[in-house]
């Protein structure tokens, strides 16, 4: 136990924890959306994120930035970021949709048992990760430093960098717009209706398959945004980069209450911060361990997560 470390660096640990948690939260949204509508743990979602990191990197390379090039000026920088964002989001969404069309929809049509979905999800995850592994020689890839890290301001002695502000800002914007979309728009009403009762929704004229597709698109878009932020902050990817992030994001989704959009955000941020505190208190190697202990203890007291399941209705 190292309380000096924890309290001495408390503000800094909090900020970096929030920043990591924001990325967890964006990925967790994909799990939560799909789960809310289909009650399916989409194991392939971690690979949706991975595809996003690679396509964003390739976009930057196509624009002429490699890991050694100097940071661009503000104009080209915005162009690179936007291009990377659009490509990553589209690629991730396309991957998610492909998985749905190839692996899940045929099963749904045959009314397969829930466990069968779990296994095709794992199969899809293997296929995606291995294809990229073979295609990239399983090497790690560094990224261009598009935004040099600069201290924007300090709170309680901890520096807050421009990248951290960007990550937290983008996450909040994405989160609020998704929340509004699901709760206010017509398509969002469809999602909620299917989540509540798929059969009744279908009878009321909601196109179930279109809603499901939409859910995969939304989850994919969020993962793509997370991938871009990941690239900007951590500047690294590899064919199996999604595994750990996916695991953490899934844990975050459960922590907040799976099927609950706001729960995903809360769960993600909480997990990120808690892990960092644990790393400060016990040492960096206890990070993941503490994350899981937290999850298990919390589920014992609140079996449906912090905010409960609520995309459609609360489920016991």
């Amino acid at each position: 136990m190292n309380f000096d470390e924890l309290f001495g660096n408390f503000p800094a640990l909090t900020i970096t924890g929030l920043e990591q948690g924001a990325i967890y939260a964006l990925v967790a949204l994909g799990y939560t959306l799909v789960y809310g509508v289909l009650r399916l743990i989409n194991f392939a979602h971690s690979e949706v994120f991975m595809v996003g990191t690679f396509t964003a990197l390739w976009t930057w390379e196509a624009l002429g930035y490699d890991q050694n090039s100097p940071s661009p000026a503000i104009g080209p920088l915005i162009l690179a970021l936007v291009a990377g964002l659009v490509v990553a989001a589209v690629a991730s969404a396309a991957t998610a949709v492909t998985v749905e069309l190839v692996a899940y929809r045929p099963l749904r049509r045959r009314n397969a048992p829930p466990l069968a979905f779990l296994i095709t999800a794992i199969g899809a995850s293997f296929v995606l990760a291995e294809s990229f592994g073979i295609g990239t020689s399983r090497a790690p890839f560094g990224m261009p430093v598009l935004i040099p890290s600069e201290t924007a301001f300090t709170v309680f002695g901890a520096a807050v960098t421009n990248i951290q502000l960007l990550i937290l800002g983008v996450t909040l914007v994405m989160m609020v717009s998704l929340d509004q979309f699901v709760n206010r728009s017509r398509l969002g009403r469809g999602i909620r209706a299917v989540a509540q009762d798929a059969d009744t929704a279908a009878l009321m004229g909601v196109n179930k398959n279109r809603v499901i597709l939409l859910v995969f698109v939304l989850g994919g878009l969020m993962a793509g945004v997370a991938a871009l932020l990941w690239n900007v902050r951590y500047g690294y990817t590899k064919f199996n980069v999604g595994f750990l992030i996916g695991l953490k994001a899934f844990a975050a989704a459960v922590l907040g209450g799976i099927g609950n959009l706001r729960g995903a955000l809360l769960g993600g941020l909480l997990l990120g911060v808690a892990e960092n505190y644990a790393a400060g208190l016990f040492g960096g190697d206890w990070k993941d361990f503490t994350g899981f202990v937290l999850l298990i203890v919390l589920l014992m007291f609140r079996p449906t997560g912090l905010l409960g399941e609520s995309l459609g209705r609360a489920r016991a």
Binding site: N9, T16, G142, V145, Y234, Y236, G283, G284
Partner: protein
């Protein structure tokens, strides 16, 4: 109906596969049967290490080093070739026994380059030992491996007790650092190195552990920056090293990172980026690129799509050549080749290290040179040879 058709098609495809497989293996058996009489030809050298999975990045380069040596040999000896047998362990000790038993059961296999990691060595080496199949590992550096009285065991590099103290001396005597922070990745390799470094340094400014595959190092970065350390020693592999350094420099740290040969890989600079990696000191129990190194680097690049040879690729190349020399000299059985390796005493062309093994299989300590390298403008260039003690 459509589903039924699809099923039929699937069934046909599968049965076709099985039948063609069976037919092909019949055909195979015909040709293989005849090749038995050419005793000393068509021998195999095995490569044992990860070619898929997480650690594949390290293993593929070693395999390439071995492959290059064999390809060059086969070019000169087209009438009596040596084949490469790959045993992809994925770096997983659980997968090692079946592969080691396969190698042992294949009488054509007379020597093994590997196993690449210490964990799989613990499992596979007893099997090789039982069968008397000589091995030279290019990269398993756990010191205790040479104390198990395996008569077939040889190590083509210095172990952790040669490199670690040297790295410690470099930090103490050359960098003259007052405050040193040490971090390891909890791997046997990384933790072993850090233990040795700490023994030399005495007190350190702080220490922490990270995990292999970890990507977010914000907590440890906060600690290192807070400790005021000017030197960071990292025990581990290149991916984590690159990411950690990148995040450290991103947080405004100005110090120098020192790391072992697990980081001495082109991928380190690729992950960290050139500016970030600049000035990093990498130790390696190997000699620098000189004329002695011959054409290894250019040959390697020519053979493998212009890839920079990664860590231990040169060691693998050299130790494969030891086996090849033995085969060339007519040592076509495992026992003969083992005796040949035991009495070997010659410098390797890629590493410049003189390969002479002690009775326990360790490289003769007099031959273990530890050099410090520096990253300069995106290249790893030799700095100095670290003096012994």
């Amino acid at each position: 109906m459509r589903q039924k058709l699809a099923r039929v098609l699937g069934g046909v495809a599968i049965s076709a596969l099985v039948i063609s497989g069976a037919a092909a293996c019949k055909a195979d058996s015909g040709t293989e049967g005849g090749s038995g009489d050419k005793a000393a030809c068509d021998l195999k050298i095995g490569f044992f290490g990860p070619l898929t999975g997480d650690a594949a990045g390290l293993g593929i380069h070693m395999r390439n080093g071995t492959k290059l040596a064999i390809d060059q040999y086969n070019k000169d000896n087209a009438d009596c070739k040596v084949n490469l047998a790959e045993y992809d362990s994925q770096g997983d000790p659980a997968k090692a026994p079946a592969l080691a038993q396969q190698a042992v059961g294949d009488t054509k296999v007379v020597g093994i380059v590997g196993p690449a990691f210490s964990g799989e060595s613990e499992v596979a080496d007893p099997i090789f030992d039982e069968a008397g199949l000589p091995i030279i590992t290019p990269s398993a550096t756990r010191p205790s491996l040479s104390t198990k009285s395996w008569k077939i065991f040889h190590r083509g590099v210095g172990n952790d007790t040669s490199q670690g103290p040297a790295a410690g001396r470099y930090i103490k005597n050359v960098l003259k650092a007052e405050k040193v922070y040490v971090v390891d990745d909890q791997s046997a390799y990384g933790a072993g190195l850090v233990d040795e470094v700490k023994k030399v340094l005495g007190a350190v400014a702080g220490e922490d552990k990270v995990q292999v595959k970890q990507t977010n190092f914000s907590a440890v970065v906060t600690k290192i920056v807070g400790s005021g350390a000017t030197v960071l020693f990292f025990g581990g592999y290149y991916t984590e090293a690159g990411l950690l350094l990148k995040q450290l420099k991103g947080a405004g740290w100005k110090g120098t990172m020192v790391a072992g040969d697990g980081v001495n890989d082109a991928n380190f600079i690729k992950v960290a980026g050139q500016q970030v990696a600049e000035g990093t000191v990498l130790t390696c129990p190997c000699a620098p690129a000189t004329a002695a190194k011959g054409t290894f680097v250019t040959d390697y690049k020519a053979a493998f799509e212009n890839a920079e040879p990664g860590t231990y690729a040169d060691v693998s190349f050299d130790i494969t050549k030891i086996f090849l020399e033995g085969i060339k000299a007519g040592k076509s059985t495992r026992a003969d080749l083992l005796a040949f390796v035991k009495s070997y005493n010659k410098a390797g062309t890629a590493t410049g290290v003189t390969y002479k093994f002690e009775s326990n299989g360790e490289l003769d300590p007099a031959q273990v040179l530890v050099w410090a390298f520096k990253v300069n403008a995106g290249q790893v260039v030799p700095d100095i040879e670290i003096p012994k003690a």
